[in-house]
Amino acid sequence: MPTLLEVSGVTVSFDGFRAINNLSIQFPPTGLRAIIGPNGAGKTTFMDIVTGKTKPDEGHVIWGEENVSLLGLSESDIATRGIGRKFQKPTVFEAQTVRQNLAMALKNPRSPFAVLTHRKTAENAAKIEAIAEEIGLTDSLTRIAGELSHGQKQWLEIGMLLAQDPRLLLVDEPAAGMTVEEREKTTDILRRAAETRSVVVVEHDMEFVRRLDCKVTVLHEGSVLAEGSLDHVTSDQTVIDVYLGRGHA
């Protein structure tokens, strides 16, 4: 299978602390992947590197069929090349309506002039309707995003990611603070999204990861400790020692 994103030999230090240590990881063009690991394993830093927020000291981040290096590109540039990111805390624009939030995220020209002269089109409206349907917010399109429940905000943010039509979705703890039903719905949305694109979920919650039923990568101290099915990695002795063992102790 071809590779969509290849991270190889990446190292980042903050004040002498190696947050990411010679990390190498690849993602195919479609499918789900879960990344787990204890606090400080480098999960968020890994996302920061891929999305251009943090510059690594060493290593390569190679994107797409044309093998573009993402290092040195700005956040907005990387985003328009097809990498979407969902933050741990739901970050939607609370002062604006659900429709405005989705319209802003919709894949359209991003330059100030294009945005200034932007006209609403039936095509865009249809796309927004379709995404609202997908995330279950059809009835809330005219509501102010700040009024939504926690779970709805999480879905709205996932919807904004889908509206960007990215090829790679980085999703940070999508199930945090959700009820069981909300989790199920979130799992369904992510699974469906993964049919046509690569979806990477960073998660603490083992139960949620089990529900995702996908390949799992365990991070520890900034590098990959184990990779495989959830059952495979949870039976790995080193994983039990550093992560699960500590968690169950």
Binding site: R85, Q96, M104, P112
Partner: protein, 388 residues
């Protein structure tokens, strides 16, 4: 298209109607065109107030909508004033010089005329040579272009440097204060080429209209200011409606998120900063011919801070709030400081409002910020229930 824009923004229509009514009222009550119930000097005050409202809506767009607390927009206002002032002063001095030389037997050479004008304008700072920046002062068209170009270019360069380095929040505010302070201090120097602390004066005399009474000139400038405010309001209302408004307010609320959506936040900030600077320049160019004089004190850092206070009191994040704030506070300010308010004798102490007005203003700023973050404009929310 225009209809739907107005339909989606009913407050724009309300504002334009109120402005039109006000303008009409002042016109029929003025000395030049009506009943003479409003004095020429008050017409000028009202005209100047409209210019302050115009820079206030620019401030509201850059701060209230885009979240950039610029404390330097009066620099652009002043530059606009200086740009038009140079032509006004040059053209008027030229007329005077030509008149005084007309009686001579030998016609004056262009060099002599130029020297005489230079002597008239720069004698006060001990010079008679025209500095390079006066190169276009004889052309109204070019100086009008400067009104737009100079603030625009300064904002573009300053904004590009600041936003590219991701200077935000209070650091950006300090930087804008430094900009307006530096400009003010530079202009205070006699060899800056703009007459140092004397500034440019006699700007109320419009070259070519020497015979026209000030009453007429005042009402013309009043009308021009009202038109500019209306046009500026319409322009900004259009900019902040629709998708541009969404992105700009998104930048205010969560800059990083907008960036991860793929928008180049810096370009948007630069765009907003520059267009608001240009509108501020235009406001200044209309203000100073009504004020009659401009000097570097006008662009001291405090002026831009007042601007932020007006917008905060009026209610930021809504254009009419900025207009209300600027009009209300600046008119009240001239009433208090102009001796309009009677002193209050407490027996042991007499409150003189010329001294105490600033304390009152400062207190109301604190009170509004703490208890009424929506400002005076927020009161309209009680009157109008927004359809969701």
């Amino acid at each position: 298209m225009q209809n739907s824009f107005i339909a989606r923004n009913p407050s724009v229509l309300w504002f334009l109607a109120a402005l039109g009514l006000f303008t009409f009222g002042v016109t029929i009550l003025s000395e030049a065109t009506g009943l003479g119930l409003i004095s020429t000097s008050f017409v000028k005050t009202l005209g100047k107030t409209l210019c302050l409202c115009l820079i206030a809506i620019a401030m509201d767009v850059v701060w209230g909508y885009c979240g950039i607390l610029s404390l330097g927009h009066f620099a652009f206002f002043g530059i606009g004033g200086y740009a038009i002032g140079m032509w006004l002063m040059y053209a008027r001095t030229e007329t005077i010089v030509l008149e005084s030389l007309a009686g001579q037997n030998i016609p004056a050479t262009p060099q002599e005329i130029s020297d005489a004008i230079g002597n008239q304008i720069f004698g006060v700072v001990g010079s008679s040579d025209f500095p390079a920046i006066w190169a276009f002062a004889d052309s109204l068209v070019l100086q009008l272009a400067m009104v737009v170009l100079m603030p625009g270019l300064l904002a573009l360069v300053f904004g590009w440097l600041a936003f590219r380095s991701r200077v935000t929040g209070v650091y950006l505010s300090i930087l804008t204060q430094a900009m307006t302070l530096a400009l003010s201090l530079y202009l205070f120097q006699n060899d800056s080429g703009l007459r140092g602390n004397n500034g440019l004066s006699g700007l109320q005399n419009i070259p070519g209209f020497e015979a026209t009474p000030q009453a007429t000139i005042s009402i013309i400038f009043f009308l021009a200011s009202a038109f500019a405010l209306g046009a500026g309001y319409l322009f900004f209302a259009w900019v902040i409606s629709g998708k541009m408004g969404s992105v700009v307010q998104g930048i205010r609320d969560n800059e990083a998120r907008v960036r991860f959506l793929g928008y180049q936040v810096e370009s948007y900030k630069l765009f907003i900063f520059t267009i608001t600077a240009i509108v501020s320049g235009i406001a200044g160019a209309l203000y100073y011919p009504q004020a009659g004089i401009i000097n570097p004190g006008e662009i001291a850092p405090i002026a831009s801070i007042y601007l932020a206070v007006w917008v905060a009191i009026g209610g930021r994040g809504r254009l009419y709030g900025a207009v209300i704030g600027a009009a209300f506070v600046s008119l009240l300010s001239s009433w208090f400081t102009g001796g309009g308010a009677p002193n209050v004798n407490l027996g042991f102490y007499t409150i003189q409002w010329t001294d105490w007005w600033l304390v009152l203003l400062g207190l109301s700023f604190v009170v509004v910020t703490l208890y009424f973050p929506k400002g005076i404009g927020g009161l309209f929310d009680y009157l109008v229930r927004k359809p969701s």
